[in-house]
Subunit: 310 residues, 4 copies
């Protein structure tokens, strides 16, 4: 790593902007979905996590966290974990109830368990709400302090845990990856997203882990809370004050939601270091709002090798 | 095909109940999503179609219709078509606008086109709403009678058609597939769903095309519009009036939404005939509400070979 | 399409070399593999088609031709078709026997059927050889003129057709796709390969349909029949007589094996027209040996739109 | 676990035969394949590992070992590891050279590295053989004690390590999984195979990890070294001395090749314990030849919970 100028850092000849990602507090939960096979757990989780890219317009931000071996799940079947983030606990509870009811309860052979510690003031009700679908035929069983609902369905019963824990998480960690060509930018973003695909405690909520519609707060249209960030649009260079390097054809963004600052930092570090290994990756930057809106600041210079614990 | 009794039909030694599926009118639209590769079109479509299993609790029912060769798409790129169904045009418009904005506008390299004829009183606005994300930098272009919006984003521009056509479609065609074992029932349902995976004009909106939580209208809990259909739950045999064959361990349902009665009939016919080829498939039946709620009735006896056009 | 010079053609601003692909006669067969689900048919076919990229060093060139609906297969189960090509019928017979025995006979739930007309002097024996694995417990059944072997295995029986037809096919149709960047070249090659993924009568035998190690006949090392084609290596520009455009960073080749000249032409046409739609695709060319080695010549100018039947 | 009789063990109500799997010494190597994306590394590895199920008729037994994060690979790109097993080092060298040349050298963007310690008398030559494809344009570079060949190809260069280490491994560890129904047997086998999919130091070389054509040594046909094991064929019950439980409809086998007894034991233990969690799994057994042919014996009773290190 070399400092090309006061503001410029370089990693593998790729410029790293001396800036930071600005992220926000969010309420998070973890669902553990098991099924008769890993394949069916994945199907349920993919359906659960659809249309859950950004809480600006979706009820929740959600994505698969990682694959779980049978030895890691409560019922000893293959599974998958999902992380979901919302503005507050009430919104999270509503979204998780609805999505579990529509996407997991309905899916062949699945069960659904809480994956975070439950505290008196931090819990949300999931199985305890879905149980009414059982129309009086549902049954409760308790194992230690955990209560589970057994809801009769056509392939036997849907087992769903009563209460789920929540955590104070972080939404909106991000990296901007600029390429000399569109194809290189996409490849660098794909490599970065692949590199953190199975990272614990972190998800990338956008399609394939990648966003191409970077936004700014506000718009010339009063009804719109967010609009395209023209400074990053290659098609508008010349018309607007552009932040893009002169020879940049496209930029992609990775958005990171995580259960802790450590988890988001670790994932951003791995993703950044993966992106710069792609030829024609030009610049890695990050999005912020001047630092005044979001409580969490992730400085790119802290993500370089040799900085902090590897 | 043999009639075992007045009520019983048989196909490949599998009993076919002499009953019908009852389905409902719905408003439908078709989206054509293209991208830099088939793989990215599939990713965008999967995210768009998540949490869209049933309009009882989702804003829309949606799934991938089929893969499109580049020669079949408006911009000559690889693509995929999606069908979406809602109670009425206003609900459909809102859902498609939101989901296109969150799941396709955001996804690397995509464009989104209308896939149905547009009529004056049947159209919904999609690109014409999303264009405001362009914050004044969007541009319109017209090709013949079709208007497209070019919305600047970080990898160039998102092209989205202004208006989408809608059609009077059908939601809720269904088959119930009973197996001597859970595994056989799932295999038969999987084979049936696979058999219609690329069928034109029809989708199966549930996870992997299959539902295991068959429901009835109403519940003992007044707030609930639907609840588990105890007559089809193997775990409740003995406790309730069961519709299940004595040796049935599990039942799965396929739900069909289509653009026409012909399309739904064709898909149900292919699916039924695929299911019965699986060993230990015991019975194929269908769900209805006595015929008084839904306008469309699909009789299983009309789905057997030699009945109607193959 | 414009002629930039006597030698130059252009399609969508991409240069199309005025040259031809030179291909060779080969003996072909088609296997139809069915299974309990499409997924298991795909698994068997992928294993069968591994290490089958080029008859220069493999026993056979083979790849999946296309997905088969249950209505298209002899036993009414979901399936997949494979095309396999070899120098002559004897080599093809040996390779297909061995691979069917190791990769399909072994695979859960599969059956294997002939997919070409059988003639007295063009047939190869498949089931008729594998039957001995049954150790005397195998049984033969005849349906019309076709004989099938039922070989007992641990999940029931493996049904394999006795004789398979062969056809005089073509191996080595090809396109060379040059990109301004490596990523663009790969994207153009991927789009071209995706565009013909389900084409009937044609396969692309290399990994993902694409080759990056273009070769020439012979080598400075006498033992080697083929070696890298230095004229197409971007890293050797300046050291050798290069065929590469000045600003070309990478080239990928698609190789086409087909059952007829018509099928190879149709696939090459679709692939070429798909490749040029990718930005930074610079040039499409083809490989030949001066026209003296291979009997079949596919001229790129015949693959442009408006030339011949679309 | 309960002993139902002197010979019978039970786990989750599934009978575990008091027998052992008999396995053989084999020579093993590990290849690390990297590429521009995880997806392309997977494609190369799948093609490399095709038609590599059993050394009885294939040149090698090979399968993907596990996914490698970029931080685990020599060139910092996403990757995958492959394990390959053969009778002896000479056979292994020939097979790995040929397959690397046909399946990895040819595949877009890949590189190929040794993944085992290299010793003077245990090494095989890979890059040192493939280098001749470079036709004199190849270059060697040395990093520490490791030599790499840079072979010019159309997308730049193929980097391949000169020498690969080998290890004394084990081939033929196995489990036999019997189900009350075919579908249950397949599900149990699938769950067992999924459970060890990413296990280090072990592979399952058959399609999808599963074999259905269990064999015995020899045949009534002198030319055949192996033939169907009639004692395990449900279709032959009544005709032969059957080893199958009375109500068993199908059996599947998992075959394990590993770098050490510890690795094979760990994988067999996890797989067995996963299989028995599937309803209608009846019996888990194993195949042996009386203990006289193979040096390694894996007793099923040692794979039960509470036996040895978990």
């Amino acid at each position: 790593m070399n400092a090309g100028s006061q503001q410029d850092l370089f990693l593998d000849n790729v410029r790293i902007a001396d800036t930071f990602a600005e992220a926000f507090p969010a309420t998070a939960t973890r669902l553990i979905v098991t099924a008769v096979s890993q394949r069916w757990a994945v199907i349920a989780a993919q359906v659960f996590c659809g249309n859950a890219t950004s809480v600006i317009a979706c009820d929740v931000e959600a994505a698969v966290e990682r694959t779980l071996a049978a030895s890691e799940t409560p019922d000893g079947r293959p599974g998958i974990s999902i992380l979901a983030f919302a503005f507050d606990r009430a919104a999270l509870e509503t979204a998780v109830q609805k999505r579990t009811g529509q996407c997991i309860l309905t899916c062949p052979s699945t069960a659904c368990f809480n994956g975070l510690p439950v505290t008196a003031d931090g819990q949300i009700t999931v199985g305890g709400s879905l149980r009414y679908f059982g129309d009086g035929y549902q049954q409760s069983k308790k194992l230690g302090k955990r209560r589970f609902w057994r809801i009769p369905v056509m392939d036997g019963e849907f087992v769903c845990e009563d209460k789920f824990g929540t955590a104070k998480g972080i939404a909106g960690g991000n990296l901007l990856i600029c390429g000399r060509t569109s194809a290189a930018a996409l490849l660098a973003a794909e490599r970065a997203a692949e590199a953190v695909a199975e990272f614990p405690d972190v998800i990338l909520p956008f399609p394939g882990g990648i966003v191409r519609s970077g936004s700014k707060v506000g718009s010339r249209y009063p009804a719109l809370r967010a609009s395209t960030n023209q400074a990053w649009c290659p098609g508008l260079r010349g018309l607007v004050d552009s932040e893009l390097p002169a020879d940049c054809q496209a930029t992609y963004e990775l958005v990171f939601d995580g259960l802790s600052e450590q988890a988001v930092t670790a994932a951003m570090k791995t993703a950044l270091q993966a992106a710069v290994t792609v030829p024609d990756c030009l610049l890695v930057s990050a999005g912020n709002y001047g630092g005044k809106l979001g409580r969490f600041h992730f400085h790119l210079k802290d993500l370089l090798p040799g900085i902090g614990p590897e």
